[in-house]
């Protein structure tokens, strides 16, 4: 017995753990984000007291709800080392089809509209997933191409016209304004999605396989994971969530247009990288993505309140993405270096 213990020491000698700053950052990323969100809110509140009013908060949170639903899906895509630029177009297409449907049949149950939109998005996602997983097209190329196809279809479906507030039945608009147990429906839906996906990616085999495929595709194959199926699934989920978000979006803003959510995919990607999802694949948490979405939602909402010109928003968003991915990369380097220093040479 004593001998085994000795040998064990030989196998695994770990000198006292010295941790670099970046290793600490990696550990407390969520806490840091939360702190940053609070500090930011306080500063904005001091500059403009209308920030933390009930009305503004409600607006902000419902916006963030849609963003975070998409970000959860995008997280799965990025975990598998992919990217999806088509979600803004998918969102517009499914939102438009839902809006046209309720316009034509005003007595339709809003639940049907939601299901219809989700189904449209799902089909878009399945097509994309097929191109990427089965045909082996690079995600960037496939989603860039299909983005235009979906966008074109949206214009064609509507004949280039808008579906505006007065063309939608009250029941449909109520999806976004109504509440369940006194809580706004959008928030309820978003929270349900967080919980479902938290469970899915942490407590089911398929969910964990998504991480495995992103962390090391070669090993995944040897472990008997069907990489193509996982990829297909991930892009289908992303499509379905975009479809759902499309209905919610159109209901909330009470208008469906050909250029709805143009470029919104960039906000979604920004929320993911802010939340610590690694562009290199294999890691990302629901909690991080939620915080990332909230932070981005606050920024979008707060900037006009503290008199930042709306024309600055694009630039700021781009800078956020760049700074976030670079920070992620530097933190990762620091952790790796930390592991190297621990080696005993």
């Amino acid at each position: 017995m004593a001998e085994t213990k000795m040998a064990a020491k030989g196998l695994v000698n770990r000198p006292a753990e010295k941790q670099s700053l970046s290793a600490v950052v990696a550990k407390f990323r969520e806490l840091g984000l939360l702190g940053f969100i609070i500090v930011l809110s306080l500063i904005v509140q001091l500059r403009n007291p209308s920030f933390l009013t009930l009305e503004n908060m409600n607006d902000m949170i419902t916006n963030t709800a849609i963003l975070s639903i998409l970000a959860v899906g995008m997280m799965l895509v990025i975990i598998t080392r992919g990217i999806d630029l088509s979600i803004g177009a998918t969102l517009a297409l499914s939102g438009m089809i839902a809006a046209l449907t309720v316009n034509a049949f005003p007595e339709v149950n809003p639940l049907i509209a939601i299901l219809l939109g989700t189904a449209v998005g799902l089909v878009c996602g399945v097509v994309l997933g097929f191109l990427i997983a089965k045909m082996g097209i690079l995600p960037i190329i496939a989603t860039l191409g299909m983005m235009n196809v979906f966008r074109g279809l949206t214009f064609m479906a509507s004949g280039g016209k808008w579906v505006s507030a007065h063309q939608m039945p009250v029941s449909f608009k109520a999806i976004a304004t109504g509440s369940i147990f006194g809580i706004n429906t959008l928030i309820v839906i978003a929270v349900v999605i967080y919980i479902v996906f938290y469970y899915f990616i942490n407590h089911t085999r398929t969910g964990r396989q998504i991480y495995a495929v992103g962390s090391n595709p070669e090993s995944a194959k040897i472990s008997g994971i069907r990489n193509d199926r996982i990829l297909w699934l991930v892009y289908s989920i992303m499509g379905g969530l975009s479809g759902l978000a499309g209905v919610l979006w159109v209901s909330k803003f009470a208008s469906a247009q050909g250029d709805t959510a143009m470029g919104y995919e960039l906000s979604v990607i920004a929320a993911c990288v802010l939340g610590g999802v690694s562009i290199a694949g294999g890691s990302g948490k629901v909690s991080g993505v939620i915080l990332g979405s909230i932070l981005l939602g606050i920024l979008n909402n707060a900037l006009p309140l503290i008199n930042v010109s709306p024309f600055w928003q694009t630039g700021i968003q781009g800078s956020i993405i760049l700074i976030a991915v670079i920070t992620n990369a530097l933190v990762k380097r620091g952790v790796d270096r930390n592991n190297l220093m621990r080696r005993n040479i």
Partner: protein, 330 residues
């Protein structure tokens, strides 16, 4: 086992000569033209075709360096934003009193710097792919254009500036001449110089290229800088044609450009394809769009066609390849 000792002669094969993607493009090109002729009686005339080239050649300047980037196995989706930023800065400077020639020079400089920043970031942060880096800079460059010009249009350029986009030298559009010169330079660069050979090597096997003493980082920076510069050239011609500029100018150009490159037979996996294919694809897509435009096909449908074209273009070689590899023993 093969025991012959090596020799240095290569047999010419007609089969190999005709089994090239470029011939396929030529066939499609002819088909597109026949289709267009049937669609519109106005299509097939010298004036019509000449004017057509003027409408689509502006973005063709970016196609040239994009071929290099995709052969490297990378991608640059920020090019359209670089067009917008350099165009907006040029207009802004001119309107605030800078002489036009200097403003144009600065326009090129802006493109160069933007491209250089892309290259530098990609090389310094290898763990981020070129996708994510240029995605970020795409938003940033466009964002700066918005900050500068908000939602205004800027223009009122001097009379002579319109020559770039509208002028002729004899019967030939000026833009066509410039493009021909640029294309020739890029063909030589890619197919006749050590630089081009190294680009192919890097696209095929970056690690081996590094071990062979190629300065891979410097090469990448140069290629991305070239893309920025050519995007600025596009900005010059485009701005001249439109007579004014806005921050949202050239939106979606990256899709056109990438579609042209991929359709030209340049593999997105890197390392394969030729400049001439992409140039053929420029004219193919250009004439296709022009012809469909003549018969009033709406812009949205064109969008769908272009998107599908991109997908089909990347799928075709894969289908061919998989049927080849299934044969055992080659």
């Amino acid at each position: 086992m093969d025991t012959r000792v090596i020799s240095g002669s290569r047999a010419f094969s007609w089969k190999r000569f005709f089994m090239q993607w470029e011939w396929m493009l030529v066939l499609i090109f002819i088909a597109v033209n026949i289709m267009n002729m049937n669609l519109s009686e106005y299509y097939w005339s010298f004036d019509s075709l000449r004017d057509a080239t003027m409408t689509f050649l502006d973005k063709a300047f970016i196609v040239l360096p994009m071929v290099l980037i995709i052969i490297l196995g990378d991608i640059d989706i920020s090019v359209a934003s670089i067009v917008a930023l350099s165009s907006v800065i040029m207009a802004d400077l001119y309107n605030s009193g800078v002489p036009m020639p200097l403003a144009m020079l600065i326009c090129l400089g802006v493109g160069l710097v933007c491209g250089f920043i892309n290259g530098l970031l990609i090389v310094k942060f290898k763990e981020l792919s070129s996708v994510i880096v240029t995605l970020a800079t795409m938003i940033i460059y466009r964002g700066i254009a918005y900050i500068l010009l908000e939602d205004q249009a800027a223009g009122k350029f001097p009379e002579w500036f319109s020559f770039l986009g509208w002028g002729y030298v004899g019967p030939v559009p000026f833009i066509l001449i410039v493009f021909a010169v640029c294309a020739a330079v890029f063909i030589v660069l890619l197919h006749r110089t050590t630089f081009g050979r190294r680009v192919y090597a890097m696209g095929n096997n970056l690690t081996a290229s590094r071990f062979s003493g190629i300065r891979v980082d410097r090469m990448k920076i140069i290629v991305f800088t070239l893309a920025g510069l050519m995007a600025a050239v596009t900005a010059l011609f485009l701005t001249s044609r439109m007579g004014s500029t806005r921050p949202n100018v050239a939106t979606g150009y990256e899709l056109d450009v990438i579609a042209m490159v991929v359709l030209g037979g340049i593999s997105t996996a890197g390392g394969k394809g030729r400049m001439i294919g992409a140039i053929l694809a420029v004219f193919l897509i250009g004439f296709l769009r022009y012809g469909l435009g003549l018969v009033n096909v709406p812009a949205q449908v064109l969008l769908i066609i272009l998107g599908l074209l991109l997908i089909v273009a990347v799928m075709l070689p894969k289908l061919k390849l998989s049927s080849l590899t299934r044969k055992p023993g080659r």
